[in-house]
Point group: C2
Chain length 344, copies 2
Amino acid sequence: MKSIKGEMMSQQVNRKVILKSHPQGALKESDFEIVDDEIGEVTAGSVLVRVDVLSIDAFIRTTLDGGGFHTSAQLGGVIPALGVGTVVESADPGFAVGDTVTGPFCSQSYALLPSVMLRKLDTSIAPATAFLGALGMATGLTSYTGIVYVGKAKPGDTVVVSGAAGAVGSIAGQVARLAGASTVIGIAGGKHKVDFLVNELGYTAAIDYRNENVEKRLAELAPNGVNLFFDNVGGEVLDAVLMNIAEEARVVLCGAVSQYENMADVRGPKNYLKIPERNASMLGFTIFHYAHKHAEAEAQMGKWLKSGELKVREQIEEGIENFPATVRMLLDGGHYGKLMLRVH
Amino acid sequence: MKSIKGEMMSQQVNRKVILKSHPQGALKESDFEIVDDEIGEVTAGSVLVRVDVLSIDAFIRTTLDGGGFHTSAQLGGVIPALGVGTVVESADPGFAVGDTVTGPFCSQSYALLPSVMLRKLDTSIAPATAFLGALGMATGLTSYTGIVYVGKAKPGDTVVVSGAAGAVGSIAGQVARLAGASTVIGIAGGKHKVDFLVNELGYTAAIDYRNENVEKRLAELAPNGVNLFFDNVGGEVLDAVLMNIAEEARVVLCGAVSQYENMADVRGPKNYLKIPERNASMLGFTIFHYAHKHAEAEAQMGKWLKSGELKVREQIEEGIENFPATVRMLLDGGHYGKLMLRVH
């Protein structure tokens, strides 16, 4: 049975970005296709959402190879992505038309989902996009969980963050500072990002991995070694930091964006034997394992956001058709802070 | 002032194996030289020890490159090695002639050391060589510490040990079983070693990495994944196990014997991203960090040794001149259990 809303919607199309082929190495726009599809029927327990903004996260790249590090995109299907949107039709009494919601909407302009996959947002706390960024599971909560629960940042720590100007990194370094770290060093690509980290986000110092020798520069900036490293990058950057870890250091493995286009032949950390040598550890985590901590983390992040102690930089691109190009931008590091895509 | 003992000793020589050149890749006997030297004078606070048996451990290889993973051997100097021996002259009231002692005696037939570097052994607990093996710091205590304190073996765990027929591995798997692991799987090279692990040491199963596909075989033997991996090997074996780790697995990095001849270009674990994917961790440790636990560990190991619950296999080669060949044997895996070299 279609509602009036449903009749209206049926005149709309669902514009989708689908996976045409598994990328061979670097992602190309030709690996995707834009197709217009009908909007499906809203059945009991499901909700139709107009996708307003999609979160462009590094994990997206890992879903494209089939059998990915996170979840997998199917050939001919939409690409996994988190988003915020507006309920346009609901067959669940818990969701009303007009509600702002977040969920795994994927690369499309309308998402029809079981209501259990949605979460209603309180936009009096923060604007909807903040729930993809500072308060989002893949961004702010990941940063907070990695620094506080996994990495156990302590007052006095020297903390290093790679991919420091990115969505997760730009928050992780600030969380470390707010948790009492005495020195917070960012690693990012280019002079502008280095300036952004130090001048806008309050990093103690930053290293431009494109123009500086990370291993040597870090030895100068952290002569007593790195206590906590929050790694978003992997590859050579991870190896350079491993050479500089202190005794009992914690290396938190959040991601490895440098490797996501070559998952069949990942560069393992050659210097991993610094871990036993220095009685250190490499700690992996998935945000889902810390679900019982999300409310606490979100509350703390919300406080810092309101007080202005936590600064957030968003970069919002436009148009569902630009989904492939925006993922490409993320992989190339051509953005600042939280990268998103406005769909409606 | 020389003692009478000193006069007697001066007629002896100290036969040493010294490092002639840093090995290029595989260790060759020509990297060493045998020289006879005078025995030095015993001054206040030092003790002269006749070296009876040396422990041949994998860490020895890492000391030869200059700037090693552990300590370093100097060109023209003796090679670091632990041993047991007999006091032949003492200028410290805490040590009497005839005492059985252990210490870092290095590759020589007599060791003259400050008394603080020695420890007197109670040979009523176990024969002297046991203090290099099951009760030795680099062997038994390393196994116990890695399995119990670092890896936190729990009843019901599926535990995998690589280098399982070696000195550390052959004990680590037994400690895991005694700590309640329900399944203990060893990885070793060759059919005879596999049989040795299962039939003599009580491993649940063993994989011959030379003739079996470790990744596939492990998937069959541990369908629910590996909870604890104690790695002595690194390289391809580490990667094969990483593909099979369970959620929240602990990978204890004890050593990487497969990499010790190529430390300038270590093969990092390509599959390290299984660590974040499965909320797991890679834990490094050095035995020195657990010094406060040594007495407890040694007491437990001593009990198991006496009760016969812990089985020890020793292989003792002969002659200080064979130090290079015995280290070579260790690296090639041509031995069972604890490899030692009788000097006197």
